[in-house]
Amino acid sequence: MPLGDEKHKVIYNELVNVLGANYVCDDPAVTQAYSRDYYAAGMLRRRRSEFVVAPGSTEEVQQIVKLANRYKFPFSVMATGMFLPTAMAAADYWCIIDTKRMNQIEIDEKNMYAIIEPCSTHAQLHAEAIKRGLFNGVPETGGQASAFVNAIWGGNQGTGYRTGMASRNLLGIEWVLPNGDIVRTGSLATPGAGYCWGEGPGPDLRGLLRGVSGNQAALGIVTRIALKLYPWPGPPVWPSEGVAPDKKSELPPEKFKWYLIAYPSVEKAVDAMYEIGDSEIGMLLHHWPAIYFNWWWAKSREEFWSTWLEEYWHKNCKNVVAICLWSLASEKQVQYEEKVLKQIIKESGGEPIPKDVYDRWAPYAVNNWIRDTNACRWMRIGGGLGNTHIVFDTMDNALALFPAAWERLDKYTPPALGGIHSAWILPFDFCHQALGEVDYTFEKTDEVCQVVQQSFVELIKQDRQDSVISLASGMATLNITGRDFANVHLLVAKIKKALDPNNVSNPTRLIDMEKLEKKLAKAESEPK
């Protein structure tokens, strides 16, 4: 890394001119903190960036981007930083833009939306929203993660059944393009209209953000967004009692009614979920595998493994459909929906899990799906989290792909830990769309990470072959996957070229322009 060379010094001084010395750093002990994430790929490809900067406003982001174009240095951007494999340094003079200073939240109560900046966490937004009788969907990553980032890529939400994928809630957007121009979309494009609406004059640019894995800031940096909010029938302060990790959280039962219903098979569970979706009842709906009960309940990894060996949750929580009814309009709504739900349970052959099992789990874990989700707890079991199936399609498609995913899981078990076939189904939009996911934990060592990477590559191959839109295929560069999806890489390359003529915005991620251009030039020069 050319830390001491002239170009480095020039870039450093220019960054300091823009941001001040407190917000620019090139010390290896500081940049080391941006060199990896929890993901297997992140562990294997550790690399320090050369600079890290902390802008405080859209204008400062714009100036950094203009400098990047002038001095031809690459940049990437991060918020809370849990998922960094597509933001870590990949070349010399790399600058990571850490948005921690950009964490403002403004709530428009009347029009039910929030304007947030990149480092506004979900828990912050949630706390501010519920004070005002409003609610935003909770990201799977947890309350400490960025609500903003969750919405500008294919973020899941615990309430996705009703609130959709997180990105469905995007309204106006402010965005610094890779060439340093600022674009404002939706109603922001109309002077004085504010952030209230997603669509606006001209084409809807949100499509450039909202892929399954987003555009990974390869098409610039989004600095402010407005998010749609929903009614919140609960208390203005999140209820909790106890001292961590021994804590309970219970919401008023007349306003929030949970049902955990066991089915003889995952297919039967999905049938019931379709019925529930058709009836448009409930706010949260999931199919949770038994391992989730274990993950969310255990207060320590020791407790996790001992209950795992006892098979307590496996025996008691097979093929569980979890639904929470909310009094969005009134308590009578819950009463009505409960009647509908009971009818569906009866007709679909479901059985509520035993009361003692429910009582052992629900007060400690169930409302996590409304406030925190706490998915980072996954990693404590062995250090790593892997997936052999993360597909965004329909519930039927999730079902159809589970057997192959379980086969892959079996093939990689060990080093995958556990040895049970998990199957999480999170429906969106009243079950018209769904995420299907097969998760596993593994021990985080370099050797095991290699194997996990190998399984991921295999998954990408399989998804390409099946034309499946998944997080795996979404994470691969479009150079690899584009031709499997209507040659989308050629379209994206044109957009990238137009917006990022110097190829400085997270180059090689989303699409590797240098490789693509070489390949296209070679094809051009070859005789037809």
Binding site: C25, D27, A29, V30, Q32, A33, S35, Y38, R46, V52, A54, G81, M82, L84, D98, K100, T121, H122, A123, Q124, L125, A127, G143, Q144, A145, W238, S240, V243, A244, P245, D246, S249, V266, E267, K299, E302, W305, W308, L309, R371, N374, C376, R377, M379, R380, I381, G382, G383, F402, P403, W406, E407, D410, T413, L417, G418, I420, H421, E443, K444
Partner: protein
């Protein structure tokens, strides 16, 4: 649909995942980069304004100054990916930390790890390897020469107790030793807290004595700066002095000293009972030996000192991160006329006062920021006074208030109690 095949149970090869034990590299390596170390428990976030838990991350912004970054640097140093000479700012990464344990509580909550112990161990390594923070060196010199952390001559140590009729444990015996600590011994404004505490104990019939001018530092602050040897030396001297005076119980008003005596000395073999003054008062109240007779019309909020609160917890995976949370609250609620209004961040989620970990001595701007943040939170409750149970916290709050011209009053809990009897 293929049949769901249950495979045999595959368990981790490394037993650490199933039966936790202390391991420096494993604790650092298994950091999930989830960022729970930067914010309070999401269930406890009540506003965006007061939702952070790590002062270092809040002030210095970059992840290198967060718990997560310190884990990365630790792994890099252990594995040789980073060397001391590579980084001019390496010491700042480890020392721009109040050692408040906020990150530690959050990480234990979710990931079952002890990052604060990693930071502590790395500080000790740095000192062992001669990587000394220049700003700490005069303090350590003062400690070695004058037996205190306040850069003051040891001859002045006993001034706080002048005229106080109390047993002198250098020549007399008593069941209870009251330890004033460096801060109260040399702070002319706060020394009254120690006097009041001794009187309170005497009035309750406790057989109490002090070491007076011969009292020495507990060694805890030096230990947190990375000077392990100092801790051992002062622990041996203190334990010997207490034993010679027939002491069974040590009582202090200083949370730092309390934690050092109770937790660190215990690791060195101490068998003395250690109580913070709030535990004694709470006990005396319950036994009916202390009654509040005067009304103190005041709304107050209570600041949990880190060493008395979450840092009192001895880690057992899965167990609640308990500290001395309830006794001070019991006391405040029992005083007639006093209304306790809680801040947003309390108990294991409390924001630090800023003074700990050698920060007050080395990074005054960071120290002031941390204190001011807590004062802003206290002000947001509408309380008239901020009550705490540690002289380091009290001093830091008083300094921040006087610098910023705030109107909030600051009391040690002993002062509040004194007003009610």
């Amino acid at each position: 649909m293929a049949m769901v095949m249950e495979k045999q149970k595959i368990l981790p090869k490394d037993d650490w995942h199933r039966k936790y034990y202390w391991d420096l590299r494993k604790n650092a390596w298994f950091c999930a980069r989830c960022s729970v170390c930067k914010s309070v428990d999401p269930w406890e976030v009540k506003s965006a304004r007061f939702s952070k838990i790590c002062p270092s991350s809040a002030y210095y912004i970059f992840d290198g100054y967060s718990c997560q970054g310190r884990m990365d640097v630790t792994v890099a140093l252990i594995d040789g990916e980073l060397k001391y000479d590579d980084s001019p700012g390496l010491l700042d990464v480890y020392y721009r930390c109040n050692m408040c344990g906020g990150c530690d509580a959050m990480c234990k909550r979710v990931q079952d790890m002890e990052p604060l112990r990693v930071i502590q161990e790395m500080r000790s390594r740095l000192v062992r390897d001669g990587q000394l923070l220049p700003a700490h060196m005069p303090i350590i010199d003062s400690l070695r020469q004058e037996d205190n952390m306040m850069l003051k001559p040891k001859a002045e140590r006993g001034k706080w107790a002048e005229g106080l009729a109390v047993k002198d444990l250098t020549g007399e015996k008593a069941e209870v030793a009251f330890h004033a600590g460096c801060n109260l011994s040399f702070d002319d404004e706060l020394g009254k807290v120690a006097r009041k505490a001794v009187r309170l104990l005497q009035n309750a019939g406790v057989d109490v004595g002090i070491m007076g001018k011969d009292e020495i530092c507990c060694g805890g602050k030096a230990y947190e700066m990375g000077y392990q040897g100092e801790l051992t030396k002062y622990a041996q001297s203190n334990m010997e002095a207490w034993a010679n005076a027939g002491v069974k119980t040590v009582v202090t008003t200083c949370s730092d000293c309390y934690n050092t005596f109770k937790r660190l000395y215990a690791e060195l073999g101490s068998k003395f009972e250690v109580l913070h003054i709030v535990e004694v008062i709470d006990r005396l109240m319950k036994e009916g030996k202390l009654k509040f007779t005067k009304i103190v019309p005041m709304t107050v909020t209570y600041h949990d000192p880190c060493h008395l609160g979450r840092r009192d917890h001895v880690y057992v995976p899965g167990e609640a991160i308990m500290g001395i949370y309830d006794p001070p609250r019991n006391i405040i609620k029992s005083i007639p006329g006093v209304e306790l209004i809680e801040m947003e961040r309390i108990k294991e989620n409390a924001w630090c006062c800023g003074a700990g970990g050698g920060v007050r001595e080395a990074y005054p701007d960071f120290n002031a920021f941390t204190a001011q943040e807590r004062i802003e939170e206290a002000k947001s409750t509408g309380a008239e006074a901020l009550v705490t149970a540690c002289p380091w916290c009290e001093r830091n709050f008083i300094d921040a208030i006087s610098k910023n011209g705030d109107q909030m009053k600051v009391f040690d809990i002993v002062e509040l109690v004194q007003q009610a009897i």
